[in-house]
């Protein structure tokens, strides 16, 4: 009994505990409203079902959010990811639309590579502004956030650019071994990121720079390079996400693709337990956060919430989640509960004792 309590208490201390609780609760709500919600079936060699839909919808957001996590770990922020999503998708689609054979794998791969290189270049631009020139991250990335939309529209000539390319569409809508390719790509990239962060010293150095930049510099960490690198990486993640999003709909929309994804990504990072001031970060927490956000979107439909109060509902859940995450808030709730029960009784008793003593 005691051992069980101890394990539960230890689990509650774990960084991923509260996000996991919220996700389970959301899934429970969905199942209550729609009984087959959690069922997955194999149809034509593809897995189908709401959980698969949630993962597919989460894949691009999770990627963007993981890039954002590292940027936030250094104490920065990247507002330009939405624009990079749009530019990468637009450039890839433009290159493919110019191909003689849109189904040629080599041509598609080249288009993808060109788009990703550009995404890294754009991320590096942010890194340059922040790490080398010393512009505040929110301003530095705001430049590309605004200008990037313009660039994306220039690439597509202000039109929605539609293509018809089997290999390209696989990135966003295809299946491999019964699993959605976009989920596999996201899992691969995130798994690789985790491995590099934790097997090398990169994770610790990032947390150190985010925790105290000056102390890190004096300990010999080349924090400029690290800062530069995380922005470039964030660009790459946004680029991959951009390819997924445009491939899923076989078109590029410079205006709408990735719109406001930066806010969802920041939200995913926060839900995942990484503080916006930098320092300690949790990549897995962020992934969980992205899944929660997409589950929330689906919940709105399952529960049948009218579309005009959809955003209100979403924000309420987010507020509850953030409060549940806050140690200060939990301590406050616990204290209230104690005062309400045994605690106050004991306090009154001592007060009386003292009064009695004073009278005597």
């Amino acid at each position: 009994m005691n051992g069980g309590d101890g394990r539960f208490a230890a689990a509650r201390q774990h960084a991923l505990f509260w996000p996991a609780v919220v996700l389970v609760a959301l899934l429970a709500v969905n199942t209550a409203f729609s009984h087959g919600f959690l069922s997955i079936e194999l149809r034509d060699g593809h897995l189908y079902g709401s959980p698969v839909d949630i993962l597919r919808a989460s894949a691009p957001l999770a990627l963007v959010a993981v890039g954002m996590t590292l940027v936030i770990a250094t104490g920065g922020i990247d507002l330009s990811v939405g624009s990079v999503v749009a530019i990468a998708g637009a450039l890839a689609c433009l290159r493919i639309s110019e191909l003689g054979d849109q189904n040629g794998v080599a041509g598609v791969l080249l288009a993808v590579a060109v788009a990703l290189v550009l995404a890294v270049v754009l991320g590096s631009w942010n890194g340059l502004l922040v790490a080398r020139i010393g512009i505040q991250p929110i301003i530095a990335t705001l430049i590309l956030m605004v200008a990037g939309r313009g660039i994306a529209q220039l690439v597509t000539d202000g039109q929605v650019l539609t293509i018809n390319s089997g290999p390209y569409e696989t990135i966003g809508a295809g299946y491999w071994l019964a699993l959605p390719v976009s989920v596999l790509i996201a899992a691969g990239v995130i798994g690789l990121t985790l491995a590099v962060l934790r097997r090398s010293a990169l994770g610790m150095l990032l947390e150190s720079v985010g925790g105290n930049a000056e102390a890190s510099r004096l300990a010999g960490i080349r924090s400029r390079w690290l800062t530069f690198a995380v922005y470039a990486f964030s660009g790459l993640c946004a680029g991959i996400a951009g390819l997924m999003i445009s491939a899923n709909v076989a078109s590029a929309d410079g205006n709408q693709a990735g719109l406001l994804i930066e806010l969802d990504a920041i939200l995913a990072v926060v839900i995942g337990g990484t503080a916006l001031i930098g320092g300690r970060f949790s990549v897995l927490g962020t992934v969980l956060g992205a899944v929660i956000i997409k589950t929330l979107d689906i919940t709105v439909y399952t529960v049948g919430i009218p579309s005009d109060v959809k955003l209100l509902f979403k924000s309420l859940v987010v507020i509850v989640l953030c409060l549940a995450q806050s140690a200060a808030f939990r301590a406050w709730v616990t204290r209230r509960r104690h005062v309400g029960s045994g605690g106050s009784g004991a306090r009154v008793a001592t007060g009386d004792d003292e009064k009695a003593g004073a009278l005597a």
């Binding site: 090398s200 010293a201 947390e207 150190s208 925790g211 890190s216 004096l218 300990a219 960490i221």
Partner: protein
């Protein structure tokens, strides 16, 4: 005398704490501690690092809530949920590190949160007038409209005290108020404290400077390992007895360094030079200076606060960029681009500001210790966990860092133990030149003696050390050679022979070294 009369009675106390206990994950910081404070007394809270002084103060000032125990202020039981509440109840605190807003003016800092207002608008003229008046009363003549960070840490500290006093306090808590003040400023502070005591204020004074405690305090409470050791009148307890009570053992304190360490300078100067600085300068920071440190040599830097001691050290480490002169390490001239260049040549620098320039508070003790070594290896060559644990365990026990849990966030450690973590970080890099900027500031006698002994051992083993301290005795005890700074200029370099003592050093600091 007045306090001696009151010490026997219970009702004279303005503040009574009974059976205070406070636990942190892995640390029992306070265990049933009693404490009382009378009006019109200056009361010292004594104990080693980690004895629970800071925790007791934070409980008293509402920063932490208590696990068990009760607090009575002026006869009323109180239970604070935050510093603001404690302040409103009449308990004001000035912390060791200045907790004011650097980017606001002096006057704004003094009145922040309680600005004089009319119809909701701040009355700026009134604000300035009141601040001026307050500071004049404290004989501190500064421009109250100037931004706070345009003044030295010492002046900022006095402003913090002025602010605390102005918030009509019954109880004034001073946590290491003198650790960044020079002698004249300490006198100024003490004059003020005596004035406040005579007006009936109860003052709680925490300091590691035993002499200062004996100079200013009437009574003291001693803690050890989170427990109360006793309460004594200062006049009735000798310094030696006090130290014994603080440490729980008798100790031949600060004994003179053994003969081996006192090598003659001529012998040391025959050895290879670890660092040679020639006409190194940075405008607005340090005038051109030349300094050579040989293997196994300890060079002390003496000078007043702000005389350029830290600035000189930072130039040798590449923390700031010199704009003139040459620096060679081991005979090789080096262009210092930053700390990493210096580290690659075997230089280590432990900053005086361990909170802002030393430790990463969120990271664990282990991570903080391996940080510099890991940075030097580069991110792609991680120290594996077993090697990390070995190194960290070795230095935790060698420096007796407490609590000895490498996974605890370094933020949870006391000041002295944090200092040891910082030292360990540099020692595992096995430097050839170790620069220590105020390594013993704000830490207790026991740890101080340990650190001094360590410095002596390291130099006996061949390490070159640049040792910076505001305490002349300490500089004299450890150094083979002493460089005296005055007004950002090296004015003298003295061999530390028998005829050099604190007076002679003081004269050199005062007159510019013409001796």
């Amino acid at each position: 005398m007045q306090t001696a009369d009151q010490s026997g009675t219970r009702d004279g106390a303005v503040l009574t704490m009974r059976g205070i206990s406070k636990e942190f994950p892995g640390v029992k910081a306070l265990d049933g501690v009693d404490f009382r404070l009378h009006p019109g007394e200056i009361h010292a809270l004594m104990g080693e690092n980690g004895a629970g002084k800071s925790t007791l103060i934070k409980v008293l000032t509402g920063v932490y809530d208590v696990d068990r125990g009760e607090i009575e202020l002026a006869g009323e039981p109180v239970s604070f949920t935050g510093p603001l509440q404690a302040q409103q109840a009449g308990i004001s605190t000035v912390y060791q590190e200045v907790n004011l807003c650097q980017n606001l003016s002096v006057a704004e800092n003094i009145h922040i949160g309680r600005e004089p207002r009319r119809l909701g608008a701040i009355q700026w003229g009134e604000l300035r007038r009141r601040s001026d008046e307050l500071l004049r009363r404290l004989r501190l003549e500064i421009d109250v409209t100037a931004q706070l960070d345009s003044y030295s840490i010492a002046v900022q500290q006095l402003v913090a005290i002025a602010r605390a006093i102005d918030i009509s306090a019954k109880v004034l808590v001073l946590d290491e108020p003198t650790s960044s003040l020079d002698a004249g400023e300490v006198d100024q502070l003490f004059r003020l404290l005596r004035q406040l005591r005579d007006e009936g204020m109860a003052i709680l004074f925490v300091s590691h400077f035993l002499d200062q405690v004996y100079e200013i305090c009437d009574r003291m409470t001693i803690l050890r390992n989170g427990r109360l050791v006793g309460e004594h009148l200062v006049a009735e307890l000798s310094q030696r007895e006090l130290v014994g009570k603080m440490m729980g053992r008798e100790l031949a304190l600060l004994e003179p360094m053994d003969e081996e360490h006192r090598r003659p300078l001529t012998e040391l100067e025959a050895r290879p030079a670890v660092v040679e600085a020639s006409e190194v300068t940075r405008s607005g920071s340090v005038e051109p200076f030349s300094l050579t440190i040989h293997q196994g040599e300890v060079v002390g830097l003496a000078g007043l606060l702000g005389s350029g001691r830290t600035e000189l050290a930072r130039l040798l480490f590449g923390a700031d960029k010199a704009d003139g002169g040459r620096i060679s390490f081991g005979g090789e001239q080096v262009a210092l681009h930053g700390p990493r260049t210096a580290m690659d040549h075997g230089v280590a620098f432990s900053s005086e500001n361990r909170r802002t320039e030393g430790l990463v508070a969120d990271l664990s003790v282990r991570e903080n210790i391996v940080l510099a070594l890991q940075a030097a290896r580069g991110w792609a060559r991680p120290l594996n966990r077993r090697r990390q644990n070995e190194l960290v365990q070795k230095w935790i026990s060698a420096l007796s860092i407490r609590p000895a849990d490498p996974e605890l966030p370094v933020r949870n450690l006391s000041g002295g133990n944090q200092q040891k973590v910082l030292l360990a970080r540099w020692l595992i890099t096995e430097p050839k030149l170790l620069i220590l900027d105020e390594p013993t500031r704000g830490i207790d006698v026991g740890a101080k003696a340990e650190i001094q002994r360590l410095v002596a051992e390291l130099s006996d083993g061949g390490m070159a050390v640049l040792f910076i301290s505001a305490e002349l005795e300490e500089v004299l005890r450890l150094s083979h050679k002493i460089a005296v700074l005055r007004d950002r200029k090296v004015v003298a370099q003295l061999a530390n022979s028998d005829d050099v003592d604190a007076d002679r050093l003081m004269a050199a600091i005062a007159t510019g070294g013409a001796s």
